[in-house]
């Protein structure tokens, strides 16, 4: 493949010319180890590919799926390493925690945690962990929308739970988020109390319902490949009913802020520590859970919670329900049943006999043949629309801004692009896993979750954002705003003397070497229209914008 070979030569040239080594500036982001030292899971999924060197195009795909954006040197590193070795290296990296970054930022801007999220997405080394945590944040949803916008540290602390457990165990994760006070506030389990027949009060069903519907088993019984179980008449079989919800609602009673001095009207609010049990407000009666399992009367709030989370965790739906959504967030909107089944099998039991081992599940998702080769098998449908945040991080990472100004502020991204970390409009995330774009996608029975937030309005703001981030904000523009992130086009300026070389390079960096001949010639033509003395940087950024804003760059394949 000529294009790739050329780029290989190019890398050597660039190292000499610009000395771009990377690594500097990210040291400060490293912080404490995850609670448990990561053990490297074996590659145990059925239909896995064998580890081994990748082409640049294949390496680009791996990074598009497993990071917030491919970078040139990382493409070559991953190509040399192969997918499993790359994953192993990533999994061993110390976690970069959001709350550490927030403390370090020492800023009183109300949305600073979003700015720190940007910094980490662009600069943190533990990219796979960051990307998986972001995926989890869209399944185990809490949101600053509503009453929590003032609780930055609480929100960051919640995100850290997802980072910490990204390769940990799903049962641990469920318990940590259940007892997290930000979740307690968001889905009103905090302060939920036992029934009071005199006052006509029944426990709040909010957390019980969404825990079952969204965080664990879903609403209908699933086969191991994620397909829906139906009765003889073709009607989906519900996984639970209203009575089940009411029973689980009674489980999640009697919890409040760790420092609350009063259960009904506390003045102290600790949004960082796990909630603690208040025995007097817990419903200690017997409860009937999924599959008719029971919790005996007289148990403590913690014992009831443990029993209920086990009851959920061992439900056969969890593996296909969560595996499928992780695949959708990371790899493709429409995984084949076989892909889901193979990953779900690892979720149910990894090589060490552990259930819910997310490190194994993540590795299975990336090492499965479909993740690595699905684009060849299903060339017209494999992949996913990129979320708005990912399109921006991918652009910024591709052109590796050297530093990010301390006044950098893009905490308002949600207003602009309809997506912002921990900021979805409801517990149903920014988009639903089963949204299907009207037209060919819907007519062919496919889903396209990310299309739910792409419309005639948001596609314009997204395009404008890409334009501003390229044409108006690069390091060869004299009047660029220093507090904005400026893309570094030094490498590209070196290549600019040879338009074909530049296009080879941008093809790899922005499209993984898949640029169509038509897009290439349109780009070349536009560059030629800026052919004047001193127009080099203009030619470069015109090319970057045209490619980055193209429909081809909007879809991960």
């Amino acid at each position: 493949m000529i294009i790739i070979k050329r780029s290989i030569q190019l890398v050597g040239v660039l190292f000499l010319l610009t000395g771009c080594g990377g690594g500097s500036g990210t040291e400060a982001l490293r912080s404490k180890e995850p609670a448990s030292a990561p053990a490297l899971p074996a590659s145990e999924v059925a239909n896995a590919v064998v580890d081994g060197p990748l082409s640049a195009t294949e390496a680009y795909r791996l990074l598009e799926q497993g990071t917030f954006g491919a970078q040139l040197d990382e493409i070559w590193t991953a190509a040399e390493e192969g997918p499993e070795s790359w994953i192993n290296r990533q999994m061993l990296m110390p976690a970069t925690f959001l709350s550490d970054g927030l403390r370090k930022a020492n800023s009183d801007r109300w949305n600073e945690y979003v700015n720190v999220w940007w910094r980490h997405a662009i600069q943190a080394d533990d990219q796979l962990r960051q990307r998986v945590a972001f995926a989890l944040s869209q399944i185990l949803v809490v949101s600053a929308h509503g009453g929590l916008s003032e609780e930055q540290f609480g929100l960051a602390n919640y995100y850290d739970i997802l980072l910490k457990n990204a390769f940990g165990n799903y049962r641990d994760l469920l318990e940590e988020i259940t007892l997290n006070p930000v979740m307690g506030e968001y889905l009103s389990m905090k302060g939920n109390r036992k029934p009071d027949t005199e006052e006509n009060i029944r426990p709040d069903e909010n957390y019980a319902r969404e825990l079952l519907q969204l965080f664990s088993i879903g609403q209908v019984l699933l086969n191991s490949d994620g397909s829906v179980q139906v009765d003889a008449g073709g009607v989906p079989l519900p996984a639970y009913d209203q009575d089940t919800i009411e029973e689980f609602a009674r489980v999640f009673t009697g919890w409040h802020f760790a420092n609350a001095e009063d259960f009904r009207w506390p003045k102290k609010k600790d949004y960082m520590s796990p909630m603690v049990a208040w025995p007097d407000y817990h419903d200690s009666g017997p409860k009937t859970l999924l599959y008719g399992a029971t919790l005996p009367a007289g148990q403590s709030a913690q014992a009831d919670l443990d029993g209920a989370l086990d009851n959920i965790f061992y439900h056969p739906n969890v593996a296909p329900f969560i595996s499928r959504q992780l695949i959708q967030r990371l790899i493709t909107s429409n995984p084949s049943p076989g892909y889901v089944r193979d990953v779900a099998a690892v979720f149910n039991q990894n090589a060490a006999g552990e259930r819910g081992a997310l490190g194994s599940v993540i590795k299975a998702i990336f090492m499965h043949r479909e993740a690595r080769q699905g684009h060849l098998e299903y060339p017209d449908t494999f992949g996913k629309l990129k979320e708005p945040l990912l399109r921006v991080t991918q652009l910024w990472r591709a052109f590796e801004p050297d530093t990010i100004h301390y006044d950098f502020n893009y905490g308002w991204v949600g207003n602009e692009l309809g997506q912002s970390p921990l900021n979805s409009p409801s517990v149903f995330n920014f988009f639903r896993p089963d949204f299907s774009q009207p037209g060919d996608i819907r007519n062919q029975g496919m889903v396209s979750p990310e299309f739910e937030i792409l419309d005639e309005s948001s596609i314009i703001t997204a395009t404008n954002r890409l334009l501003a981030n390229t044409l108006w904000s690069h390091n060869y523009k004299n009047d660029a705003d220093a507090t904005r992130i400026t893309i570094d086009i030094s490498r590209e300026m070196v290549l600019e003397v040879d338009a074909e070389l530049l296009l080879d390079h941008l093809d790899l960096l922005l499209l993984g070497g898949n640029m169509s001949s038509e897009l290439r010639s349109e780009t070349l033509q536009l560059m030629n229209q800026r052919d004047y003395n001193g127009g080099a940087s203009q030619r470069v950024v015109e090319a970057i914008f045209l490619i980055a804003s193209s429909p081809d760059a909007a879809v991960q394949r």
């Binding site: 029944r202 519900p238 005639e456 314009i460 349109e522 914008f545 804003s549 429909p551």
Partner: protein
Amino acid sequence: MNHYTRRRFLKLGSQTLAGAGLALGAHPALTLARAADSSAQQSQDYRALVCVYLEGGCDGFSLMVPSGTYEHQEYAASRGELAIPRNKLIDLQGGRSPIGLHPEAGQLQPLFDDERLAMIANVGTLVEPTSREQYLNNEVDVPAQLFSHSDQAIQWQQLQGRDRATEGWGARSAEYLSGLQERDYLTSISLAGSNYWQSGAGQRPFSLTESGILQYQGMDGSNNWQQPRRHAFERVLDIPRRHLFTKAYADLQKRAMNITAELGQALAGNAGMFSDQPPENLLAQKLNMVAQLIAAQDQLGLRRQIYYVNMRGFDVHDNQSRELPTLFAELSEALTFFQSKIDMLGMGPEVTTFTASDFGRSLLSNGDGTDHGWGNHLMVMGGAVKGGSIYGQLPSLELDGPDAIHHGRILPSTSATQYAATLLDWIGLDNAALHDVLPTLGNFSEHDLGFLA
């Protein structure tokens, strides 16, 4: 002109409606009350439905509260601490109405008393008439996944039977209505992005925000410097592609470029009429944009439109006593503001606004909030509305009373399908079209609830 809609009239065999020269009278599926001559695109015949969707399950039982002594006692016993005292209710019709409004919804009082606002009692997503006994004995079909937000929101917006479908009743109606106008891509407009009501196999809304039409920055077609960039950008969209997702992205980008340019011009023409700022209230701002779009219908040659607008925050599991008053104040302010704008345009009888929501809320309290219910009180507003009345039956609000299931969740007595049929009949769908758009309508004997003239 249009590449996106599957025009249902083609299926019905009408061959007269292509292009601009629509022969309205000949349309088999439309009964247009005041159809003008056959040259079409005349301004005098226009109708719009505006759906105000209250996300999260709006507590209609707090918005419209029984005012009778006995009925209020029953309600107060069920709601406990969350009950609104009788003496705080806003009287309707000098106290003669059996309901009063939430104290923060007082702005709606004049609309109701002037008979431009009607209340539709205890509406919900019934598939067929359902008694309490039938529900408890599983004798009838009810919507799948009752009490779940996502499912019941979709159920409300689709109304295609007990299970989830691929088309909303708005989208299916738009297939009929689109045949009336050349700019059929402006039949469905959303101020809330994608939604299930206006989405179907070949239908989707045109979306914009309360800020109106956005411009593509750095790509102004009239600027010499920017023109080459814009042309290159447009040509890139036209590159043949096979991947469904890249194709869909390119389609949407092209649609955005074409329609926003056209709509931007039309809106600019009426900007003077909307120079004053709407209230600091997101729903009011969205409805203000709807009013601006409606004001441009003549210029755009539009005859029938459906609008979707949303308001968030109604899922009050917690802090109901603190959050609901604010929500109701905003809702009332926004609806009143919108009606005043429509009246200012002299289009009162041509625009009908209605509310919908995932479900009503349980009467039972969880301490400081309420849970997911089913039946709900809704509102319809406009000059064509026979207002000042309550349609349907007011339920007993007793926790385990004759209308309650699951301890305090109210079984609907009127189906959302009947509600939708009444609205769609007004906008011009004939009987066959109504049954096509609402496949379960035949399960109900009453198809017109009577709240529209």
